[in-house]
Symmetry: C2
Subunit: 218 residues, 2 copies
Amino acid sequence: MTLGIKMAEKTAEKAVDITPIQQFLYCETPKAWLEYAVKNLEILLIDHAHCEKKAAATAVKLMFRYPERIDLLKKLSQLIREEVLHFEQVLEFIEQQGIKYRAIKPSRYAAGLHQYVQKDEPQRFIDSLLIGGIIEARSCERFHALVPYLKDLYPELAKYYRFLLKSESRHFMDYIDLAKQYSEGDITHRLDFFLRKEKELIETDDPLFRFHSGIPVN
Amino acid sequence: MTLGIKMAEKTAEKAVDITPIQQFLYCETPKAWLEYAVKNLEILLIDHAHCEKKAAATAVKLMFRYPERIDLLKKLSQLIREEVLHFEQVLEFIEQQGIKYRAIKPSRYAAGLHQYVQKDEPQRFIDSLLIGGIIEARSCERFHALVPYLKDLYPELAKYYRFLLKSESRHFMDYIDLAKQYSEGDITHRLDFFLRKEKELIETDDPLFRFHSGIPVN
């Protein structure tokens, strides 16, 4: 993970303040998930790679669905470049660990949020942006929470996750800012709705352990 | 187009040899298209931006369809990053020219090739890679052919197109190499089939002028 590490070293001095993200989300990652994650690094890493790829794909989809919103196009294309780079970096790390990268079933998390997206525009668009922001915020919170659990056993990965906070927190802000910019009304109520759903997905039992899963049950 | 130009200046000394690409394709861009293009820069640029976005989307689709082919994933993710960066650069240039970016109907070109993709695997995969390579090759050939037509009126764009040759020619090779690597048999016959179809699309009359269109008729 040469690239990731180089960048991590560069930005190591400037720690990212994730307080706004912790305040934005309605709950923190449960300790049970963190303890399970550090013992199941293979699945964590493979699913992390999938999440980066999926984040890029979701942004590409939005670029095609709303092809004339210039600010959206600009922010999403930068986001795509970063997510895809992270995908490559995580893939490299997976290989270095001797782990075989493979396709795995996704968690219930993203689908569990997207099921509430309204079918009609313009709400469909705003809902998609809000969910994008929430997922980025959770990723950021989770990278931060994982660092103390990883730093002794996997110092390189801990460093990389600390580095990732920076871009993920920017992506979170980008999505929320875009939702505010393009929404005709106040987004507070709708955001509250999705944040409550997200809290449920994080704090309830989840049979499938993944990067964004709930409390592991086995 | 600050970024594009900076890079263009860096690579200006090393001209890319596009002879292999000209030899690969079965025809060169007709003069009639080039003369029309330079007089219809607005459509050319808007469609060029669309093509970059589309190229990224196609690569993302392949990453999801074939999620366990590591070499494919690595090459495609680098390609996506580059295509998306080009999209941003072209968008910036469009804005600098005072052109309003908008969604326009795509040309017959890509669909005209994709209609022949076999429905069954593994041929579907190989066909997709071959078409990817051919489209990249044509883009490269077209950028190169446009330079002398653009250099007096739009020197900055001519410089940028000269710069783009480099990455597009790499993408062409990547796609063809991947097709060779993953194909169980010889790709020559199938490649010949698509190259003949491509020549037809380029050399026949085309009512809709676009970056990859045939001979303009109006």
